[in-house]
């Protein structure tokens, strides 16, 4: 049964990757067609509404760039389940999580930024599970922070292993309840079970208002 589940996830990833490639082609065509319009308008001295066109066309190009970035990110994400256990670059994963989490953070008026201490070390882990763990830590924080805060995400070495941390700069909605939830809530239990399957632990460093996910350099397949 678990193997079948894995196959299903890989299948979804494969089809998604294929579709994102097609979207890139669509965006590339729209970009060239818009560019051609821009070229033709620029070349013409008596084109009616020339100024208006020259104002609108660059704005279409900006949206195409935005679509291209999203598609690239979606494509990267679709390849995450390719390997059950594989090498991941922690710096790249944290940068990607910051990108993927932006929309969720924006809805709460919270700024999500990549920390200066982000490090590009590589570990052997379960890529999809790592993405899930990081996303749920982020969601746990976003659900319990007041508007206008900041979350800094970074990675680095810690003792014999590695860490990914999310530093919460801003007010928590209810600090006491937050501390209690870390020990008892269903969300936290779920988060810990994901972390354990990475051979990891999610910890809250209270003085620094920081979540830390401690990761081994190699995860063993039995950690599931």
């Amino acid at each position: 049964m678990p193997e079948n589940k894995d196959n299903e996830i890989v299948f979804i990833g494969k089809i998604t990757a294929s579709i994102t490639h097609e979207i890139k082609n669509v965006l590339a065509s729209i970009k060239e067609l818009t560019g051609l319009m821009d070229d033709l308008v620029a070349m013409s001295d008596d084109f009616p509404l020339k100024d208006k066109f020259q104002n609108v066309l660059p704005r279409i190009l900006i949206q195409i760039e935005r679509g291209a970035e999203l598609t690239k990110s979606f494509n990267t994400f679709s390849h995450v389940p390719d390997k059950k256990i594989g090498t991941v670059n922690l710096g790249e994963v944290t940068a990607h999580i910051v990108y993927l989490g932006q929309r969720f953070a924006r809805q709460k008026n919270i700024e999500l930024i990549l920390s200066d201490s982000n490090s590009s070390v590589e570990i052997e882990t379960k890529p999809l599970t790592l993405y899930m763990a990081l996303f749920y830590v982020l969601e746990f924080l976003l659900d319990r922070m007041n508007n206008n805060g900041t979350i800094k995400i970074g990675s680095g070495k810690q003792d014999d292993g590695f860490k990914i941390n999310m530093i919460c700069e801003g007010e928590l909605t209810n600090r006491e309840e937050f501390i209690r939830e870390i020990q008892t809530s269903k969300d936290w239990v779920f988060l810990q079970s994901i972390s354990h399957s990475l051979g990891s632990n999610a910890e809250f460093d209270e003085p620094n208002n920081s979540f830390v996910l401690l990761l081994p350099s190699v995860v063993y397949s039995e950690s599931s």
């Binding site: 490639h21 890139k24 082609n25 965006l27 590339a28 065509s29 970009k31 060239e32 067609l33 560019g35 051609l36 070229d39 033709l40 070349m43 195409i64 760039e65 291209a68 690239k72």
Partner: protein, 156 residues
């Protein structure tokens, strides 16, 4: 300004034909092939200066087209332009001698800058050789061209 002969190879008809129109507006020559077979046939008919090549196409894929171009036309520079941007593909393309590996969608100014660089690099060695030949140093000129040829052979 020198007119560069560019062959664009991509199975996305709308994309490649529009790109060709934009290149022509910039006073360069642009021809289009919609698959690998068509591209190789066009190369046999008329050798371009630079080929802009997609990776995933029906029939002969971009990597195989690149391999064949480098073998049969070592002086032709190839720029890969693809929506399939894995590092592994980029590494393989560069190993096979691709001049540049770009991701779709690309800015036309960026593409043209790379095309001009590719075109320039094509002539760098032969220009140096020509300078020596003009000065009567034919053996040196021959050595430079031979070295260039060997370098291209090694890349294959």
């Amino acid at each position: 300004m020198e007119q560069i002969k560019i062959l664009l190879v991509d199975d996305e008809k709308e994309f490649v034909e529009t790109l060709a129109d934009r290149i022509k507006l910039r006073d360069h020559q642009a021809d289009v092939a919609l698959n690998g077979e068509q591209a190789l046939k066009k190369l046999d008919d008329q050798v371009p200066d630079v080929v802009v090549l997609d990776l995933k196409m029906p029939g002969i894929d971009g990597m195989e087209v690149l391999r064949r171009i480098r073998k049969a036309y070592p002086k032709v520079q190839v720029i890969m332009l693809t929506g399939h941007g894995s590092e592994k593909n980029e590494e393989e393309a560069k190993k096979l001698g691709a001049f540049e590996y770009l991701q779709k969608p690309v800015d036309i100014d960026t593409l043209m800058k790379k095309v001009k660089l590719a075109y320039k690099s094509k002539f760098e060695k032969s220009m140096v050789a020509a300078t020596f030949a003009e000065a009567g140093e034919f053996e040196t000129a021959k050595d430079i061209l031979k070295e260039d040829e060997e370098k291209n052979q090694n890349k294959k």
